[in-house]
Amino acid sequence: MNEYAAVLIFLFVGIGVVLFTFFLARLVRPSNPYKAKNQNYECAEPPIGSGWIQFNNRFYIFALIFVVFDVEAIFLFPWAVAFGQLGLYALIEMIIFIVILLFGLFYAWKKGVLKWV
């Protein structure tokens, strides 16, 4: 149990340090807000309208298909590192995996998802 008590203490100390720093900064800094200072600067123009606009949902489909192959790449890295010991068996397994994913891309393509109309 003692090791866990250390974790708990660490947690409280961690939260405490952050709160204390904020408190300290508040004591030290001068407080002088004015309109020009409260504007966002160095971040381009002031925004027009709300951020909650409708995006074109075609972006969503492209992003989705991209994510599939993005995740595939993550799987490829450990496979490539351990490939020396695994040999032919692993190669075949990875080929099957990629073929299934490619089939998904092919299906999406044939269904006209990739067409930007």
Partner: protein, 487 residues
């Protein structure tokens, strides 16, 4: 290695490839023949069943994947429920979802593959992956009527609740791993006993793990108090998918529960182990499920909502057999799910056909069905009476076995609750029969199911009557499958 018996994986591999094949077929045939996809999905499931009969028995991946009797018994239920869900989908496939037919059937098959993996898993990670593969296609399927707000709501609710419950389940499983140092369920059982014997107690971590796993699987089972998603999802989802959810996905939850609790944590199922006794927790939840499910179902005016509450109550009855944690208990659970497959799939198939014809799910619109379509009214009565547990139908034998197992294990109070709520349930089941047969209103609707839907109904009716009168073969098989747990 002696245990590398790849052939036992053939049914799963075949069904997976067949699902991909259906996706491909959808691209190939366009819209020439709308029925060919449905028939090929049914054919694929039939072939998987045959392959399962040939290639079974053995372990693979050093015991992570077991093709034992319990797994095979439940795999038959999964394949059966997918077969019936596909069979009752032909009308919606040619109407509402005609642009996405291939995806619809393909996803049903993917989900079935997940259930089959889940039932064979004797190890926590395989089990979890099987459960994810089961539910992720179901999220999409629940929201398949993209233009229907109720369906989209159903999909979204199911997704959020499903993801939430998966996370809770995963926390529970990781605690179990932390306590025992293994993900293999049998080794976990041994390690837990060793710890218990050497120290005389196990810390509160195990209680937390048990509660989390019960909650995680309880969400999938729609066990009270984790049931609140079920009525909305069941109402909004396409009716064949609702049926598949209520039978296939529930059976998957049941087998996962049996693997983890009745196998891995069996030592903690008795009063002696207080407060580590999971039996009493599950018994209380089961009692709550039966009371709440049955009483709320009384007030429903929509047949899908009524069947949703009825299925919440039914899972309570199943859990009576589960807490018995004996050979008879597990056998009765298997038998119950087997009969439930026929009765519930049948009732939902009628609801599907009726909705295709009239666009209505209201119970009131079933009035006078006995005059225009006497056969289907009779079918529906058989399904509902079986769900209520009236002899000589299958539901009676199933309830009898579950209650016997409960009494044998000393849960007399639970069986009394089950008996009383069973009487309540008869009221709302009989109410539909009354509406169909004795309504004063003039009947206007006549239903003509497609051939596959007719086939599904016929299989269900024959199954209920046959296995109700002769429970022997299925019961023997269920008892055989229960033997894999060393009681």
């Amino acid at each position: 290695m002696t245990d590398q018996n790849w052939s036992i994986l053939i049914p799963e591999i075949f069904l997976f490839i067949w699902a991909l094949f259906i996706f491909g077929l959808d691209l190939g045939i366009k819209r020439k023949n709308p029925k060919i996809l449905g028939y090929s999905a049914m054919a694929g499931l039939t072939i998987t069943g045959i392959l399962l009969a040939i290639f079974n028995g053995g372990i693979l991946f050093k015991g992570m994947f077991q093709s034992d009797q319990l797994a095979i018994f439940f795999k038959v239920i999964f394949i059966g429920s997918a077969f019936m869900a596909v069979g009752s989908s032909f009308d919606i496939a040619s109407e509402k979802i005609r642009h996405h037919r291939g995806e619809y059937y393909g996803l049903i098959l993917f989900s079935t593959v997940g259930m089959m993996f889940l039932s064979s898993a004797s190890e926590l990670i395989t089990l979890y992956i099987g459960m994810e593969l089961t539910t992720i296609p179901l999220y999409v399927l629940a929201a398949f009527y993209k233009d229907d707000k109720l369906s989209v709501e159903a999909g979204l609710k199911y997704l959020i609740v499903g993801a939430f419950s998966s996370a809770i389940l995963l926390y529970g499983l990781s605690l179990l791993y932390g306590l025992t140092g293994t993900t293999d369920i049998v080794t976990m059982k041994i390690n837990l006993s060793l710890v218990f014997l050497s120290y005389g107690k196990i810390g509160p971590g195990l209680i937390l793990a048990m509660i989390m796993v019960i909650a995680g699987i309880g969400f999938k089972l729609a066990l009270v108090p984790f049931h609140m998603w079920a009525p909305d999802v069941y109402q909004g989802a396409p009716t064949p998918i609702t049926a598949f959810l209520s039978v296939g996905s529930k059976a998957a939850g049941v087998v996962a529960f049996a693997r983890i609790f009745v196998n891995g944590l069996i030592a903690f199922a008795s009063d002696v182990m207080k407060p580590l006794d999971w039996g009493i927790i599950v018994a209380i939840l089961a009692a709550a499920a039966m009371i709440l499910g049955n009483i709320t179902a009384l007030r429903q005016r929509n047949i899908k909502r009524m069947l949703a509450y009825s299925s919440i109550a039914q899972i309570g009855y199943v859990m009576v057999g589960m807490v018995a944690a004996s050979e008879l208990g597990i056998a009765s659970v298997g038998y119950y799910m087997f009969i439930y497959l026929f009765a519930n799939m049948g009732a939902f198939t009628i609801a599907t056909i009726f909705n295709d014809k009239t666009g209505s799910d209201g119970i009131i619109s079933y009035s006078g069905l006995s005059k225009t379509s006497p056969i289907f009214a009779a079918y529906m009565s058989i399904f509902l009476l079986s769900l209520a547990g009236i002899p000589p139908l299958g539901g009676f034998a199933a309830k009898y076995l579950v209650f016997a197992a409960g009494i044998q294990a000393g849960y007399t109070w639970l069986v009394i609750v089950a008996l009383l709520t069973s009487v309540v349930s008869l009221y709302y089941y009989a109410n539909i029969i009354k509406t169909m047969y004795f309504s004063a209103e003039e009947p206007t609707i006549k239903i003509h199911p497609s051939f596959p839907a007719n086939l599904v109904l016929l299989i269900s009716v024959i199954g209920i009557i046959l296995f109700g009168i002769f429970p022997g073969p299925i019961l023997d098989w269920a008892l055989e499958s229960a033997k894999i747990f060393a009681f």
